[in-house]
Subunit: 365 residues, 2 copies
């Protein structure tokens, strides 16, 4: 549904309520109690407005909350830079400039060494496993504990699935080819690249294409075929590598200002939770369907060189990743607790997926 339709429907509902209650004249439906009060929330995001997958996911979340609440909680989405810059979403929602935000936890590693674990960890959990850990393995409780320090309440609200390893202007034949390479790669993946001699830089998605095209950077990882095609990265770098070791199933986040959250009546809290879960499901479905169509276009129409990273490169990256996780956690006891919780879940997930998802892919193929 389009927001306009939602608001019209909400307006009618408000009128109906008013009339039903005691024949009052139709109004905007505003009322003194939680159940009739109409709230207007802002959602700031780290994505261009309606950017495929990430932006449309944030828009869908806002529309679902507005629709399921019958307009009692109307959420307006702001793209990166419209209200606050892409990387100020965390602070903006924390101080209440906006009641809600949609972003990715690994952008906040400067706030806490534990933050990236709630989005993506190199050689870590894939999308299905992230959901298992967050919802059923204690991950979400740890995430809530961390964000509470910053006046925020986090919710899983989307996943891209396994990403691509990135776009390179020159082929990557061995680990030596990564030395001195300037690559846009955020989060822990960037830390790992620095250990093998590359120079990681972080840029908002909207700045990647021009930086790559001008040669300001030599390589970039963004998301996957669906988003990379939309940004035209194949026009700035010919070589596309897989698999996305750095982001095997990044969880996108919806964060809510703690004070705004506590003011919500229980049914609106339940609505926000349900809609975040719904978008967590639908965003991955969108990526699954669109990535494969985009990959088709990149390879068949645009002549992209799709290659797997050499085994020795993947092995070097995996070894570096283990060190990076230890180092970023360091003396941070909370981050250590999160790392151990995730590692314990991953050990079991690998055992089960080896005889289920992984064995099935092999059998079907």
């Amino acid at each position: 549904m389009k927001r306009r339709e939602l608001l019209r429907g909400a307006g009618l509902a408000a009128v109906a309520t008013g009339l039903a209650a005691c024949g009052a004249a139709p109004g905007d439906g505003a009322g003194p109690t939680a159940s009739t009060e109409r709230l207007q929330w802002k959602m700031v995001t780290s994505w261009p407005t309606n950017f495929p997958g990430l932006g449309t996911g944030a828009a869908k979340l806002a529309e679902m909350i507005t629709a399921t609440s019958g307009g009692r909680l109307t959420v307006k989405v702001y793209g990166a830079g419209e209200l606050v810059p892409a990387f100020e979403v965390f602070d903006a929602v924390g101080r209440g400039t906006a009641e809600m935000g949609h972003s990715a936890a690994y952008y906040w590693k400067g706030k806490s060494a534990a933050a990236p674990f709630f989005c993506a960890v190199p050689f870590g959990l894939n999308a299905q496993e992230m959901n298992g850990w967050l919802y059923q393995g204690g991950g979400l409780e740890l995430w809530r504990e961390l964000y509470a320090r910053f006046g925020l309440v986090p919710f899983p609200a989307g996943n891209t699935g396994v990403q691509l390893a990135g776009w390179f202007r020159k082929p990557v034949a061995s680990i030596a080819d990564l030395k001195g390479l300037k690559m846009r790669i955020p989060g822990l993946g960037g830390e790992v690249m620095s250990r093998v001699g590359a120079t990681p830089v972080n840029l908002p998605g909207a700045e990647i294409f021009s930086s790559l095209q001008t040669g300001a950077i030599d390589a970039a990882e963004w998301v996957g075929p669906y988003n990379d095609l939309a940004f035209g990265l194949h026009r700035a770098a010919k070589f596309c590598y897989y698999p996305g070791w750095q982001e095997p199933g990044p969880t996108l986040e919806c964060m809510v200002n703690q004070a705004a959250w506590e003011k919500l009546p229980q049914d609106l809290k339940d609505i926000v939770d349900a809609c975040c879960r719904a978008v967590n499901d639908s965003m991955l479905a969108e990526y699954t369907a669109r990535n494969q169509q985009a990959l088709d276009a990149l390879v068949r129409e645009h002549g992209v060189e799709l290659r797997q990273l050499p085994d020795d490169v993947l092995l070097a990256l995996r070894r570096a990743s283990d060190k990076v996780l230890e180092d970023v956690v360091g003396e941070d006891l909370f981050a250590r607790k999160v790392l151990e919780s995730m590692r314990a879940f991953q050990a079991q997930a690998r055992a089960w997926h080896a005889v289920s998802e992984e064995a099935y892919y092999a059998t079907r193929g």
Copy 2:
């Protein structure tokens, strides 16, 4: 939340609304309009009440709808046999005995050859791919078109992920060991087993253990470690085989009586849709987390023999599956349309997942 808490919360909200509106005396909140009317729906299911995953998923769906609607739409869950038998859910909701049901579409192959495609197809789509096809690949539109003939509106509402191939009283060393085998296996998987000489039977979950233990059947597939351990299948058959070729990612369904659906105000329709999507996400997370714990217990504590089906057996089953899909579709033009839609999606899904999920599992392992 427990339903009692939800109802109490809803009651209080109703009181608050009443007082706020015009100081009316507290009541049950019932009113003449859609937005204040309080609906009580029955949800019949094909699972034992609160059975792990399937039953708890149905219960969570009912609780979420009741909570997010502030009690305006209260859903009461009935386990298999409480109101109608497990395999009469489809008819019961179609005729309005219950407004809502939670089951699996492949149980209704007798109603339409196309029905099983909306749950699980041997060697077909896994959970992530089913969501991609249903939400973004035209699958859900086809499902709605089919169920409309029966006065039903379907929603994806859960997934178990890749299942186990099943429990066998004797080892399966070759395709010859399947000949004459009496096995509980529903849907298209059962058709495939019959092509390789086995005798498929369908039994509600609750009857599997006793049938297997008494030798009435020689083998049985149910779901996976989490559910199979709960039923104690390891005490009736020692050999556990993987992968679940017959059910690579079965979608569970929520079905709503068409007439009841059309009476819902738009915000309650949006709530039902959002909650089904939320449970579709959370059920798979529950299976992902619990299957691996149960697998641990089965192998380490109960001495289960966990084995992969021999390659020649899997190959024979895959060949038989291709024939079965063609045969069940036969002259049914609609079923043919569904098969082709699914096959086209699967061809692309395999190409993308070969360089993403599948390649990542291999790299991480």
